[in-house]
Amino acid sequence: MQKHQLKQVIEALLFVAEQPLTESQLAEQVESQQITKKQIRDVLDELQRDYQERGVQLRKVASGYRFQTRAELGDIISNLWQEKPTKYSQALLETLALIAYRQPITRGDIEEIRGVSVSSQIMKTLQERGWIKVVGQREVPGRPQLYATTPEFLDYFSLQDLAELPDIPEPPSQVKDAGQSTQITAATATETE
């Protein structure tokens, strides 16, 4: 396959796939053509440059590459739909922020910091959206479930990994949790303690 055609194929695949595609997935799609990952990466770089100034851009998010519209066009484009996009409540955003920044975390931890009981509706919504999931249990009495964010959470916010989240102050540790790590990296998502 010539490079010109490879580029067309990758471009077309990215525009029709339901989900973002990784380099490996793209390589797999054209595997019969003996294409190296390096060639795929070069094409992706080139496509990213090609679309730099266009209405849609090639973005890398947690679960792969996808074409998406420029952020600044959001207002005009959202007119296409009758419904207004969902506005998330402060309570939901705080809960999500706690899970994103302090994962893995139990519901009890969330309640302690927010000072209110966590509504089951919020946890259900976050799980239904595929943004959070149970990654284990803390080995204390009651074995509470530990929650972490998912790649879909990152995709939704067009992030590649948790390190891209804007910084917030690290948790104060003078009273307890002195040993708790404050480094937020994508790896924490799979930690089960």
Binding site: A12, F15, V16, V56, R66, F67, Q68, T69, R70, A71, G74, I77, S78, P85, T86, K87, Y88, S89, Q90, A91, L92, L93, E94, L96, A97, L98, A100, Y101, R102, E112, I113, R114, G115, V116, S117, S119, Q121, I122, T125, D155, Y156, F157, S158, L159, L165, P166, I168, P169, E170, P171, P172, Q174, V175
Partner: protein
């Protein structure tokens, strides 16, 4: 999204802004309709939110939290909520109790020797406030990030490629087929009835071919069933196949007169006397 409807909206609805700070105090000299006040009080996402708001509004230092005035103000708000018969979450009262406890411990004289930061009765509350403040900031960051479906949209193109999807038919290996045959026989425990031999298979294949030929022609001349090119062995196989077909009453062999050509035809059903027991 159901959250928006099932969760009270938490955005502050201040009465106004003074130097950028929302004013939601009930000024002494201004009547506020109870409805408006209700909205304001409901807008806090919890006791920590309220407490943090009170501290920030007065530009107080969290670390050196003046517990007495804060407790007093907090209680004023809680009383207002009670007065308006808001469904006051128990969490607000838990916080009130905590504040009262810290206050009383602060009032107790402490031996100078053990006075250190760790034992400051406010320490735990201060830690929680700091962490809550950080998380509030995190929530704001999340809200400000571009969101798919709100600010950014996934781009898709139409394609007719699905039409090119080919049905992939399962593969079967010859050995699998033989194994399946053996298994079928084993399951039925009929092995002794189904002796399979190479010779026999040729015969059965020829039987199929003859029947197939008879599908298109009603009658076949006997000699049409033999091909000299096949040699003697082919003739034997054909002959055995005809005999077997006759035996299974699948064909009739017809000769009108003595010495006239022999024909075979699909068995007439009236003469069919196939015995199932033959297997």
């Amino acid at each position: 999204m159901s959250v928006a409807s099932s969760e009270p909206l938490q955005q502050s609805l201040p009465l106004g802004f003074v130097r950028g700070e929302p004013v939601i105090d009930k000024p002494e000299d201004l009547y506020i309709p109870p409805d408006a006040l209700e909205l304001i009080l409901e807008s806090f996402s919890g006791p920590m939110d309220l407490l943090l708001y009170l501290i920030r509004r007065q530009k107080l230092d969290i670390v050196d939290l003046p517990i007495l005035p804060i407790t007093k103000q907090y209680m004023t708000y809680v009383d207002m909520m009670k007065e308006l018969k808001l469904e006051l979450a128990a969490d607000y009262l838990v916080m009130a109790a905590m504040l009262a406890e810290i206050k009383s411990r602060m009032l107790l004289p402490r031996p100078a020797a053990i006075e250190d930061e760790e034992l400051d009765p406010r320490a735990e509350l201060v830690r929680r406030l700091q962490e809550y403040e950080a998380i509030r900031q995190g929530a704001q960051h999340l809200d400000a990030l571009p969101q798919i479906g709100r600010d950014e949209f996934v781009a898709h193109a139409h394609t007719d490629a699905q039409e090119h999807v080919q049905t992939v038919l399962p593969e079967v290996a010859l050995a699998e087929l033989a194994l399946a045959f053996a298994q079928a026989l084993a399951h039925a425990e009929l092995q002794h009835h189904h002796q399979v031999h190479r010779e026999k298979l040729s015969t059965r294949a020829r039987m199929s071919r003859i029947l197939d030929l008879l599908q298109s022609k009603q009658r076949l001349a006997f000699h049409e069933l033999f091909e000299t090119a096949e040699g003697r062995q082919g003739v034997v196989v054909s002959f055995l196949a005809i005999l077997e077909l006759v035996k299974e009453a699948l064909i009739d062999v017809v000769q009108i007169d003595a010495y006239s050509a022999i024909h075979i035809a699909v068995a007439n059903r009236t003469t069919g006397a196939y015995a199932e027991a033959s297997t």
